[in-house]
């Protein structure tokens, strides 16, 4: 093919006409409010962290609201049929956030809850880094950062070729934007005007060696994506209402361009003593702290 083809079909028709068999977003319990979904995702993640005595729990707590809105407001899928052709795809580029996605997949009914006990253990289907070959609902193998958005570009092109109305949501991170391949994909998506792509960036300003803005300044992130031809939303990633509004605008946008929702999140959100802990990429939690963390989370649960 000789470069970007403006003739690719536009997506988004599904807002008016849900595909056959597409249930309302989410799994069991249609009337569960989003804050309760987010609470349960956090609780699942804490239980998994407790199994291992470690894990990227601070990130999981931080991104739980984003996942709640993705899985219980924005996306269409069938819990009992994770590879249903008409589903929206959710790509986890940041493989180390698997603990958070498993927590959401369990809440969505895609994974059984009793597998929480197997997280990260030998021969588990829930390895510490997300891999497509292990876990139903895990669309790609992440973990080598900078790869997810490019895969999303290809899936969006493929969906358009198939005249599918499905969207691809791709979750990556602020630190990941250090990788040049993210910007190759960003330029590609803008050039192809991929209006079936919703990028989600978790901005918690922390990566392996320290605060992301200090390691390699990625800001201004919104202006960068805008310059690459994207529609940009930037919200407080722990504000469910703001997230819902931003995800809705991103999905319904008429303009033929890829969309990105930049989510500023707080690591450890929902567990005050972890929120207050000195920020670190790999947060240490002492063995006796897990039950305390669960109690703290429960204390903040909305009725």
């Amino acid at each position: 093919m000789a470069g970007p083809q403006p003739g690719l079909p536009a997506s988004g028709q599904d807002e008016q006409t849900p595909p056959d068999g597409a249930g309302p977003p989410g799994g069991a319990g249609h009337n569960v409010p989003l804050h309760e979904r987010a609470y349960r995702i956090r609780r699942n993640a804490l239980r998994m962290g407790e199994v291992q005595g470690q894990g990227y729990i601070a990130q999981a707590l931080g991104v739980a609201d984003v996942l709640a809105v993705s899985y219980f407001h924005a996306m269409r899928y069938r819990p009992e049929e994770p590879e249903w052709e008409g589903r929206d795809r959710f790509l986890l580029s940041i493989g180390h956030y698997a603990i958070a996605l498993y927590a959401a997949l369990i809440e969505a009914g895609i994974l059984p809850e009793d597998e929480i006990e197997t997280y990260g253990t030998d021969d588990s289907r829930l390895p510490m880094s997300g891999m497509a070959s292990y876990t139903p609902g895990m669309e790609i193998t992440g973990g080598s950062l900078g790869q997810g958005l490019g895969i999303a570009v290809g899936m969006c092109l493929g969906l358009k070729c198939k005249r599918s109305g499905s969207f691809v949501y791709c979750l990556f991170s602020d630190g990941e934007c250090d990788e040049g391949s993210v910007w190759e994909a960003a330029m590609s998506a803008g050039s192809w005007k991929l209006d079936n792509l919703v990028g989600i960036v978790d901005v918690n300003n922390m990566q392996a060696d320290g605060p992301s803005t200090a390691v390699l300044n990625f800001e201004p992130l919104g202006a960068k994506f805008e310059a690459f031809g994207w529609h940009v939303e930037r919200v407080d990633g722990n504000d469910l209402e703001a997230l819902v509004a931003a995800f809705d605008r991103a999905r319904r946008l008429a303009e033929p361009k890829p969309r990105i929702v930049i989510c500023d999140t707080r690591m450890g959100k929902g567990v005050p003593f972890l929120e207050a802990r000195e920020r670190n990429h790999f947060l240490r939690v002492e063995p006796e702290e897990w039950s305390r963390a669960r109690e703290a989370l429960d204390a903040g649960r909305l009725a």
Binding site: D122, M128, G142, D178, G180, D209, L216
Partner: protein, 348 residues
């Protein structure tokens, strides 16, 4: 897309299983002597005299022990962010301006992602850049995204590049000044964190390009690199109980190979030669030694390889995985005993 099956079935009801050792796992056993961050300390020390030494990393200073250097010499440390390609290009630029960069990341990212940049910006120009990479082979249970099972296979094909695979903290400390003194690019497989100590007991001194016989034995010769030499020594000791005398030839420099030493030791009549490495069976030390022996018409009594299988490995706890893939001391001891037993049975 529909897959035939996932790698794993849904689990049976929970039993007691080992938890994973996550990204960072020590190779040291519970009673083993270790030394912390030998690379970082050795480089910081060397850089006090060698003012041309600079450090660059791709968001992994803390995870490659380069933070020790960064604390000692902050003005010569450059955090390049999680961007391996520009880290390598920038290292080439620093080398062109007369500096000697030590560039660190994980082995998967240097070999898989930055290869072309190392090849063209550094190796083709024979620049003095030392690429030092943690998590070589199977040294994390985190899964294929971080397990560099084929890094040597990838790098062996790169002209001008020297490749070393040190065994322990003692050797890493000695390798740092040696590779800094070497003119040209070097790829070093790094053990980081609390690194086992082993070779100091043998009065060993690292020499770039030299293989050294650490232990002699008439029944078999294990040719090994990296921490597999430590395990080979343990296996050789265990096999004495079976009245088997196993020698160990340590080959820390994978490229260029110490052909003379390997041919001398492998050429001794009547010994099985076993190459043991923390690397895929494809393209590593085993194939390098096999090719050398074939080219040189040297035929040992038998030739075997202990290496990782040609596959993307499982995630899990490191001890579980080392056992599963045959590179634990116990698995290695069993296989060597079996091989020698089979040969003895065939000879009678």
């Amino acid at each position: 897309m529909t897959r035939d099956k996932y790698r794993r079935p849904a689990p049976a009801p929970a039993g007691s299983r080992l938890t994973t050792s996550a990204m960072i796992a020590s190779l040291a056993g519970p009673d083993q002597r270790t030394r912390p961050a030998p690379f970082g300390h050795a480089l910081a020390e060397l850089a006090r005299e060698r003012t041309d030494i600079v450090g660059v990393t791709a968001d992994l200073a803390k995870y490659t022990d380069l933070h020790i250097f960064a604390q000692a010499h902050p003005e010569r440390f450059f955090q390049m962010g999680m961007a391996e390609q520009v880290m390598i290009s920038a290292a080439a630029g620093l080398a062109r301006e007369g500096f000697t960069p030590f560039a660190t990341t994980y082995a998967v990212f240097a070999s898989r992602r930055a290869y072309d940049f190392i090849a063209m910006a550094i190796a083709e120009e024979n620049l003095d850049v030392k690429v030092v990479c943690a998590l070589p082979g199977l040294t994390t249970g985190y899964g294929p995204s971080h397990q560099a099972t084929e890094d040597i296979a990838i790098f062996r094909g790169m002209p001008n590049l020297t490749i070393i695979d040190p065994c322990d903290a003692h050797e890493i400390e000695q390798a740092v000044p040696a590779i800094a003194a070497h003119r040209g690019p070097v790829y070093m497989r790094l053990l980081r964190g609390n690194v086992p100590l082993c070779l100091d007991e043998y009065g060993y001194r690292f020499e770039l390009g030299k293989a050294q016989l650490i232990r002699d034995g008439q029944d078999a010769l294990i040719v090994s690199s990296g921490f597999m030499t430590m395990r080979a020594l343990e296996a050789a000791e265990a096999l004495r109980a079976d009245k088997l005398e196993v020698g160990v030839l340590h080959v820390p420099t994978i490229k260029p190979l110490d052909e003379a030493a390997i041919l001398r030791e492998a050429g001794r009549t009547g010994r099985m030669v076993i190459v043991a490495e923390n690397h895929s069976i494809v393209g590593g030390l085993g194939e390098a030694v096999a090719g050398l022996l074939m080219r040189s018409d040297v035929r040992p009594a038998a030739f075997r390889q202990i290496a990782l299988p040609d596959m993307f490995l499982d995630a899990g706890a490191l001890p579980t995985l080392h056992d599963r893939y045959g590179i634990s001391t116990e698995a290695m001891t069993r296989r060597v005993r079996d091989w020698l037993g089979e040969r003895a049975a065939a000879a009678t």
